[in-house]
């Protein structure tokens, strides 16, 4: 690039050197169109095709006005449209995944320290358990192991969640105590309706190591 075109993006307010209009319109390729802009009136040999060197008009007609350019523009636009449409096609509008919010029965139906797999298909264990402060609470644990994302099993005999992949173990509270899992299982948001029904909301999660288990939305106090 020559020094004739200073910063392309900036607004050049003091612009004395070239004719202002021409330089602004053809900022991308200044060297070529600038000289012939003056040329046509000077040359203009009689009987020849009009201004072969190219005015701005002939340039624009050449880019947008000829049949070949219209054909290429149409072709390119349809190809881009097909590509974008294909990408959009691959994003499904309807999912067959379980909803992120579901009801998990009445609070009275839960016995203390009893784990069942009723909602394991939804990725959750809903558990009634006395926490370390002695409060009787119900919480919804995620069934995703915090090591590499497998699904642990509840071992009733040993009173623990045991991950079959790498042997991580979790207490009924969800706190890890053996194996490679680096942190406790996560809780999902849980609340009680006016009728005493439990609603689990998997779109919000609470991590113990971040102190989020103190959040009142992470458990139901009985």
């Amino acid at each position: 690039m020559s020094e004739a075109s200073p910063p392309a993006g900036a607004v050049p307010n003091p612009n004395p050197s070239p004719p202002a209009a021409a330089s602004a319109a053809t900022a991308t390729a200044p060297p070529k169109p600038a000289p012939p802009a003056k040329a046509p009136p000077a040359k203009a040999p009689p009987g020849k095709a009009p201004d072969k060197g190219g005015t701005r008009r002939s340039f624009l007609v050449g880019v947008f006005g000829s049949w070949i350019s219209i054909a290429w523009i149409t072709f390119t636009a349809s190809m881009v449209g097909m590509l974008l449409g294909t990408v959009r096609f691959l994003f499904p509008n309807v999912l067959s995944e379980p909803p992120s919010t579901f009801r998990a029965g009445n609070v009275n139906a839960y016995e203390e320290d009893k784990v069942d797999d009723k909602y394991k298909d939804m990725g959750t264990w809903v558990i009634r358990h006395r926490d370390e402060r002695g409060r009787d609470i119900i919480y919804a644990l995620s069934t995703t192991c915090t090591h590499l994302g497998c699904t642990p099993n509840w071992l009733e005999g040993e009173k623990k969640f045991k991950c079959p992949c790498h042997g991580s173990g979790f207490h009924i509270s969800g706190v890890n105590f053996e194996g490679p899992a680096p942190r406790p299982l996560e809780r999902y948001a849980i609340r009680r309706t006016d009728e005493g029904e439990i609603v689990v909301d998997k779109s919000r999660k609470f991590q113990k190591e971040l102190g989020q288990w103190d959040d009142a939305d992470s458990y139901i106090m009985l």
Binding site: G85, T86, R88, F89, L90, F91, P92, N93, V94
Partner: protein
Amino acid sequence: MSIGDYIRNSQVWKSIFRHPAPRDRRNRVVVMLTNLFLHLHPVSVRKSGIALSYTWCMGGITFFLFLVETVTGVLLMFYYRPTLEHAYNDILSLRDVVTLGILRELHRWGAHAMVITIWLHMYRVFLTGSYKPPREFNWGVGVILLVLTLLLSFTGYLLPWDQLAIWAITVGSNMARATPFLGYEGPGARFLAIGGVELIHSGSDARFLLLGGRFVGETTLLRFYVLHCVALPLAVALLIAVHFWRVRKDGGISGAL
């Protein structure tokens, strides 16, 4: 050295484009001729070979439709599951809830169009006498391609798994019962017996092999799906390659020899 020159002088660029930028007349020609996409055709073709009134371009359109069917078919495979539980509902969801699910209609109408154009191609080849020596072999290849196209239509017909599909395939595959020797109702089948035990019966004949059972069921759906999406397209692709290659080797497209 500008960055453009740097790129054009790099080994990667030169390995892809064998010739310099098309700035002079010679390079403009060789750049075109050495590029598959810019010059799929031979360097020289007979004048009649590009006359639309002579070729109707029906072979080319058929090939184009095959490409359309391949692309749309692959895209449809992302949504379609060939099981009793899902097949019909996946077709409905393509119609009702998938954005641009009209791809399925493109696939369907493209298939109809392909059968039509392949017949017209065959008709044109007959009219221009392009089946005559030395092109008899390629006529044979073309006939096999026609049969494979019809089989693609037939196997694709079952995949929506609606009543029309199930009964159409039931009726259509009943023809296989009458296969000579290999269909249990066909001529000669009862002679294939050892010591009074018939080898060809309703559980061992050609129709049974085709359907994977005695009636159109889930095994049939899976069989037709695999045939439709993998086996038949591979066979067609191979034969198309032979077909096109022979067109060039036998003296170019559709002219008198």
